[in-house]
């Protein structure tokens, strides 16, 4: 592996981790698409800042972009507060306007500068190693790496400091307000983090991958755990895996790095959807099937229990009567009987069924509990 290759992967991993952290809260607070809105809207901030400074490398661009992120959120809130526009519609109105304005300005006044709108969406991670961070003649590495390290550190710091508040505001906004935690302030701090991260990241990977990295890895983690700290860590880890995996996929296919990373992130999410223990689709289906059998067996036990000392006990506990009374089809009934027998709940002699001690215990427990 060459140095530039290593650097690219390093940057990608840091970007992924930095995105996953605020992204976790976006997912939990059901505002995942704010990442989409912000990462599109920041273009106008960059453009306006560029018009002021006329310098593509100016830090003012980052400031401008970050401000736009917060402005976007404010505008969405403003629209929503008029009572005439729902939140999802507000998002869908605000960011296209800002993005369109940006595209128009670029086309009209900055067409010949490298403010390529394609790059906005796609980023150019491959070029990142060429933009060096040079201090006093020392080549310290790619600028993007330092930028993203800084942003990652910022994310960790803010989330660490405000962990209690973020947690409370995410899961119980009412309580948070009652306790004086000003949910609105926390909300804006989170949005500010999202904006800074989006700005830093999109230079390397473009708007779309920012969205992918902010949502998919945390969502993957959401399917694997219930605990917030674990979710944060797993999200960052999943993002990192997606970053490295995506890089090598792009290398193999000779294709867009950002696109490949999004793909791998998606595959990881898909795998979690299917295979997550407990919350995955397969696990849930298995659980439902097991439930069905268990409930049926318990019902059989209860049925036999209820009729055991009655005059018609003999008829009620016949296999074919079961099919009639419980309306079970013969194959299903046979299966249930078989499993109940295996579990030691009943004895099965020809057509007659009798409850064992264990079976009676199960029936009693179900009836009382």
């Amino acid at each position: 592996m060459s140095a530039p290759q290593l650097e690219i992967q390093l940057i990608a991993v840091v970007v992924a981790a930095a995105c996953a952290l605020p992204g976790t809260f976006l997912v939990l607070r059901r505002m995942a698409l704010m990442s989409d809105a912000i990462s599109h809207a920041i273009l106008i901030g960059i453009v306006l800042a560029f018009f002021i400074t006329e310098d593509l490398a100016s830090p003012l661009l980052i400031v401008g972009a970050t401000l736009t992120g917060v402005v976007t959120v404010s505008l969405v809130e403003l629209l929503n507060r008029t009572g005439r526009v729902r939140e999802d519609a507000a998002i869908g109105l605000v960011f296209p306007v800002l993005f369109s304005a940006a595209v128009l300005l670029i086309a009209r006044y900055a067409g010949n500068v490298h403010l390529d709108t394609d790059a906005v969406l796609l980023g150019e991670l491959a070029f990142a190693p060429f933009d060096r961070f040079i201090v006093a003649g020392w080549d310290l590495g790619p600028r993007a790496l330092y930028l993203m390290d800084g942003i990652l550190a910022l994310n960790v710091a803010v989330i660490g400091l405000l962990y209690k508040e973020l947690k409370l505001v995410t899961f119980d906004a009412g309580l948070a307000a009652a306790l004086g935690f000003a949910p609105a302030v926390v909300h804006y701090i989170l949005m500010w983090l999202v904006s800074i991260t989006a700005v830093g990241a999109f230079e390397a990977v473009g708007s779309i991958l920012v969205v992918a990295l902010m949502i998919a890895p945390p969502a993957t983690a959401y399917l694997l755990t219930d605990r917030l700290p674990v979710m944060l860590g797993l999200g960052a880890l999943t993002g990192a895996v997606a970053a490295i995996g995506g890089y090598w996929l792009a290398h193999w296919l000779d294709a867009s790095i950002a696109g490949s990373m999004a793909m791998v992130a998606g595959l990881l999410f898909g795998a979690a959807c299917l295979f997550a223990p407990q919350r995955g689709v397969i696990a849930a289906a298995r659980r439902r099937a097991a439930q069905r059998w268990e409930f049926a067996q318990t019902m059989l036990a209860i049925h036999l229990f209820n009729h055991r000392d009655t005059p018609d006990a003999a008829t009620e506990s016949r296999v074919d009567h079961l099919q009639e009374h419980l309306r079970w089809d013969p194959d299903f009934a046979a299966q249930v009987i078989h499993r109940a027998e295996r579990r030691g709940l009943i004895h099965h002699h020809g057509q007659a069924l009798t409850l064992t001690g264990e079976g009676m215990r199960v029936a009693r427990e179900a009836l009382v509990g």
Binding site: V27, R30, M31, A32, L33, S35, D36, H40, T82, R84, V85, R86, D88, A89, I91, G92, L93, P96, V97, F99, S100, A101, V103, L104, A107, R108, T117, D118, L121, L122, I208, L209, V211, A212, M214, I215, A216, A219, Y222, L223, A250, L253, D254, A255, S256, A258, G259, S260, M261, A262, M263, A265, G266, F269, C273, A276, R279, G280, V281, A284
Partner: protein, 304 residues
């Protein structure tokens, strides 16, 4: 201004672009209304981003760049994306907005991979597919407009045919289910119509901006009326107005891309509607409040 009007009718390019934009506006405005009413506004965003790999694949598989082929690919991909979103929401605890964001970005990423893949094969051809990113209204041909009109027309016809079923689906799907209507099938129908509306406009406005044209006309229309039929018709009208205005303005000077202009016109309509629509409009509301306050004040003085 009279020059513009003249051009609108007699300049082939402007006429074609404006017509295409109008059709796009009508179709996306009307069908987008349902998404907005069902609080699924950003579904349009997801569908349009998800369409990208479909376009790329369609080209890869058929070697053709005919709009109909690409649009078909876009539709299949968009439709698949929506099914996945619904599937994820239904079978896991991941919520609707997260599912949208994931499908949106992952599908788009797949599209990018395919695009760069294509680029490596033959350099010149990717340019044709690239235009779906931001749209290239200026290069639209009369036959493209015909395609748009045909597809849009079919979608609108289906909407009219199943008018009451779609109304039921949007307002109270559970109740509709108790009446015996297959709600899930109707949901798929509505989604399909939305997908058609979006792919119709992709060529002109591009993937990124298409979602706005699904949301803005409906939001604007809602401010003017409380009746569903009128709202949907108005949304179509506003969409057409935004489309034509955008097309016309973009023709007045160089380097004014049509897509963003249409979005800005649509957004302007939203702003005007929010402020000035009778009853709901913010300005009206403020004026009425001031009038009421003054009346109260006067009456207060009259009472001894």
């Amino acid at each position: 201004m009279p020059d513009l009007l003249h051009d609108l009718f007699f300049d082939y390019t402007l006429r074609t672009v404006a017509l295409g934009a109008a059709i796009l506006g009508i179709v996306s405005g009307t069908l987008g209304s349902y998404a907005v009413l069902r609080r699924q506004s950003l579904l349009g965003d997801a569908i349009s981003h998800a369409a990208l790999p479909g376009i790329a694949l369609a080209f890869l598989l058929t070697g053709s760049k005919a709009p109909l082929v690409l649009v078909l690919g876009a539709a299949v991909a968009g439709w698949l994306g929506t099914l996945l979103v619904m599937g994820v929401v239904r079978s896991t605890r991941v919520k609707f907005d997260s599912a949208l964001g994931i499908i949106l970005s992952v599908f788009f990423g797949i599209g990018l991979v395919l695009l760069t893949f294509i680029q490596k094969r033959e350099d010149a051809t990717q340019a044709g597919l690239d235009k779906f990113l931001f749209g290239q209204a200026a290069t639209i041909l009369a036959q493209d407009v015909v395609t748009m009109a045909a597809l849009g027309g079919v979608a609108l016809l289906l909407m009219l045919l199943f008018w009451k079923e779609l109304k039921l689906l949007s307002f109270d799907p559970e109740f509709g289910s108790t009446l015996g209507f297959p709600i899930r099938a109707l949901d798929i129908l509505l989604t399909t119509l939305l997908v058609i509306a979006i792919v119709v406009g992709l060529q002109m406005v591009g993937v990124v901006l298409m979602s706005a044209l699904v949301v803005a006309p409906a939001v604007a229309a809602r401010q003017w009326t409380d009746r569903l039929g009128l709202m949907i018709a108005l949304a179509g009208g506003f969409g057409a107005l935004a489309g034509v205005s955008g097309a016309v303005i973009s023709s007045t000077a160089a380097r004014l891309p049509t897509g963003p202009l249409i979005v800005l016109c649509a957004s302007a309509l939203v702003l005007i509607s929010l402020c000035f629509a009778p009853n709901r409009g913010i300005v009206w509301h403020a004026l009425r409040q001031r009038r009421n306050r003054r009346r109260l004040h006067v009456e207060g003085e009259v009472i001894p």
